[in-house]
Amino acid sequence: MKLLELLGYYNYWVFAVVLTVGLYAVIRKRNLIKKLIGLSIFQSAVFLLYITMDKVEGGTAPIIQKGVPDQVFSNPLPQVLILTAIVVGVSTLALGLAMVVRIKESYGTIEEHEILGAD
């Protein structure tokens, strides 16, 4: 029973694992592009967390229909929130990539240790 309970939270397990994978890549990878990829994975984990918590068992899209009483809706608010967070994530990624381009232009490399050695 205990095990089944734990397995029942599998969405949250995936969240935790994806979060850790992303964070590991950000910290461990030396290549700046790979760091940004890690950052994106890290952020996507949070999207999963929000989407998971808004799901209501048997719920549908929150649109009121005539003649269908007692509908069960999933909570739309976290979806809206995460839409905003995705936009924030995309702009951060775009800015990060722009920085990598400028780093490449002025240092000629995108490997972290080579950049640190250059100045």
């Binding site: 890290f42 951060t92 780093i103 240092y107 972290e112």
Partner: protein, 497 residues
Amino acid sequence: MTFMEHLPALQVVVPMLSAPLIVLLQPRGLAWAGATAAGLASFAIAIALAMAVLDGQTQVYAMGGWAAPYGIALEVDAFSALVLLLVTGAGAAALLAARVSVDRQIEPERQPLFYAAWLLGLAGLAGIVVSADAFNIFVFMEISSLASYILIAGGPDRRALPAVFKYLIMGTIGATFYLIGVGLIYMMTGTLNLADMQARIGDVVALNPILVAAGFITIGLALKAAVFPLHVWLPNAYTHAPHMVTVFLAACATKVALYVLIRFDSMVFQDRLSDHEFQFTLFALPLAVLGILVASSVAMFEGHLKRLLATSSVAQIGYILLGASFVSEAGITASAMHMFNHALAKGGLFLAVACLAFHFRDLRLSELGGAARRMPLTCAALVVCGLSLIGVPGTAGFISKWLLITAALESGLWGWSLVAVILVSSLMAVVYIWRIVEALYFQQASAEGDTSFAEAPLQLLLVTWAVALLNIFFGLFPHLPLALANGSAALLVGGAP
């Protein structure tokens, strides 16, 4: 609704909508004029809001007419009014002084974009402060962060780029941690409005997600606020940023993150989670003490003027956190005052650095010989602000250190040792400020350098001196910030409505 009631929204809207307009102002100098006008306008709004708060009214604004827990609320109370004053004040003062310095560091065709990013940063920071909604704070936090990455990387120094990249990575991790925390709280309480959260969190039965949320939010905001040991992005980012950007960001960016940390923790978690006050003290106090001592001693041996001042900022953030970690009215008052006074002192110091940069390309202390003879006014302003940073009586810095020591003594058993920490680190501040004074006044000028009188441009110098004089003014007459700081402490810890 009268015009006054719209001020909380205008505080964000004015700089935010000015930003795209300024991009269009291509002719030389116009972009600066537009940005400065917008900066001064938001400073005026902040002053009006602070006056209203001092009259005893808390300004609440329901965005789009949707009332609070459902709509997004903006709220300006004593704490937000104080932080708004320092954010918009720093923004406006730095913009006023910026023209000549920016002309030298940013190409004319990129200047409109640069000033637009500046105003977006200002709008983001002001937005964090006025917002009473946890998710809205996240969005504004990212707006201000993205703008500050652009500003820091905007200068001619290529070393700013890796520094910004590190800041971007750590800043995003911090913001995402905050987002996870907010998500977990939403999961348990079903609300994003801070006041509503405060009311509902007491009813939550399963406390584990709330505890995890408290951890994520505290760490995330500590990353943004550059609390030791999460400060590693700060020294390089501030050192290699364009000089005026350093003035603006050093004065207010990290303090806004601390503002959210203090407000979130005392509104939502303390009182409502058993032992949370004790846990918060246990977490924040050691980090604050370590930050104060380690960063001050690093600053004592730092050879580059800008990095020295940036490192000292980490120590000052330690002071602010120390005050907050007492979880007492006296502590929060000291914290809020130190936010204000440190912004004055550090803003003034970096303004003086921007003046020095006009004639000293290399800002290492060993290269600054003879500066006092060439730029006597700049150096005098730098000394005044330096004294305020140390906390000499008669300057603003003294007031907040005094409050901090009072708060430490009230905190009981640990009090005396904390007073010792504050005194030791003040002595360290004497050492590193003295090293700057020694370099400016007593060091031999390099052999071939000319020693003629060559003061910084008048516009920059005037603002620098205005800030330096404010340091003395608020050291002698601290009533205004003190009233707001007392108000915020009563609000956050005292349980006043």
